[in-house]
Point group: none
Chain length 197, copies 4
């Protein structure tokens, strides 16, 4: 009984963990981590609080699991970037791929962006900082002028902030994303060329 041969099999039972993650991320991103109680998450899923604890040992583990699951592409990107030469092309490709990676894990990144104070206290804080530092170090020429270093970092940050900052600007989402990417590429290019003149 149940499941039959249609595709509902995998969404019937055994998807609770996934559902918890989805709802939690939505609420964390909307209201912040501290303001979101487990009661609220449980209610939205129509399960008991204790059910959450069956799947995650603590509240923190929920956010940690989200972070780990959703930032894998960025981890991969860093791995890839490390193996490449520090050419302009590499840098541009990093920026392009990062832009794409961000857009996939958007709610998570909005959450991290908007809850830095919280994130700092959580275990993910450090992993996240590490990754940002790695990316930065790939984009940066350590002996470039300070101004160009700022330009590189600013590129990353423009990507980060882009989506959220432009929300109330009118225009098509895809176009805005493209514009943000272009500005970031520009900054990275300026920084690189200036440094290698």
């Amino acid at each position: 009984m149940g499941g039959t041969m249609d595709g509902t099999k995998q969404q019937r039972r055994g998807n609770t963990r996934q559902r918890i993650q989805d709802v939690a991320l939505a609420l964390f991103a909307e209201q912040g981590y501290e303001k979101t109680s487990l009661r609220e998450i449980a209610e939205r899923l129509d399960v008991t609080k204790a059910a959450l604890y069956y799947h995650f040992k603590t509240k923190e583990e929920i956010i940690v699991s989200l972070f780990e699951d959703l930032t894998q592409p960025i981890q991969d990107l860093i791995e890839w970037g490390r193996g490449q030469p520090h050419t302009l092309e590499t840098k541009q490709e990093i920026v392009r791929r990062y832009s794409r990676a961000l857009s996939h894990a958007e709610p998570l990144f909005r959450f991290m962006q908007e809850n830095q104070a919280t994130v700092r206290e959580l275990r993910i804080g450090d992993s996240f900082k590490d990754r940002m530092r790695c990316l930065r170090d790939i984009l940066l020429d350590p002996d470039a002028e300070l101004v160009d270093q700022v330009r590189s970092v600013s590129a990353l940050f423009t990507l980060h902030a882009g989506m959220f900052l432009l929300q109330d600007l009118d225009g098509d989402v895809e176009k805005k994303r493209a514009a943000v990417l272009e500005v970031a590429l520009d900054q990275v290019t300026q920084a690189h060329e200036h440094a290698h003149r």
Copy 2:
């Protein structure tokens, strides 16, 4: 009334209100608004929680008062900007003054930056968004290309993020600030020139 002409203005009889604000801001910026309890603030000041309530009606009022007291310069800047023509010089001056204003109220801005999720729920959320929008509208040419709009917004954001992002880059604080300012000016200039060609 009060203050007389003797210069005791800022210490008056009992500067507790001020001290509460200072400690609260430090803690809010460090740990976030929700994670900072009134107990903690009171303990640091060596007064009771009830004493806080003599000076502020609610916890929110503390942060609101900080916001109002510390963002006056930015309010003034917006006022000034609105009266100016939309020339490149104006835009550059806005960026310069904004950079200076930010550096004065740094902890508050770090707090707002890092606790957006919280801020959104608080009364200050809207005032803050309004002001950001105003600044943006001064820097922006509404009919500029999207890319240039992004560049302008990115300038603001670079300023905002600058201080925090560059913390673990070595180098003198003042120099870093100057570099950040230069990048921001650059972006605004590019945006403007591109649009007015």
Copy 3:
């Protein structure tokens, strides 16, 4: 069925019940009954909590089963004692046998000793008290002086407490046990002789 003649008696197919009892007793004795959760027991055995419920209907049933399995020798001792005349020899033999019985079920008795408050609420509480009373009544001459009654009870208690109290006294375990036994015998003897003078 089961057991056959091959000597596998104690490991049969699946000795889980026994393993649960062992682990539970160890944990109960170490941390107390309330502080030991079924989760902990299950984890140590590398089974699920639900598996425990296959073997025992409730948590209490685990401790009850331990009590019943491990105190059989004492039950027997009481039975035996009741059929004997109230001579000094009988009393001394009771003390000797009791000492031996205790040393076999040591962890259980330590548990009962150290968790009296808990035991009192459990079903075993009364059985235990009954048995202690029986033993006492065999050792006691009801019309002896109060002091001698105390001496008899104290003998029992010295045995009980002996092991644990002397833990941090240096010396060989067997010797300490013998010394404890000697003191207990002494008390019982004094009580008896004093009463029958």
Copy 4:
């Protein structure tokens, strides 16, 4: 207003802390520490749980405060004992005074006796063990035979156990206490004389 000139002044307000201690001790002794919830204590006092937290930072602090307040006499006794020569008279006096001290803090000691597993995990566990060791070391001749050492320790334990063990023996409480004391004195005397022959 309030208090007038009768003696009710000090029981009106400001005795809550004391009342919490009283009720808590009664419940801890009756049901054990873990089985007694703060809700229960609060309900008996007709205050909220939060009120308990105004007076004690944690549940553990309640029991710690009881321990510290009620065992002062024993602490004093140890101090006194240390300054005395190791004569039989000293030892007997220790036993006498200890008996008296115990009878004052009876519920606490019953609690500690019956919740050793719990006590061991709490901070008081060690202080308590230390004190017992001190007392033991005053009563003990370190080079006495093992049997006599057991006898000394058994004396202490007889005192401890006395009250509780004899509860269901009929007879006047004071008389029972006297009998227990006599047995304990006897043991200490035997141990001493045997050792100094």
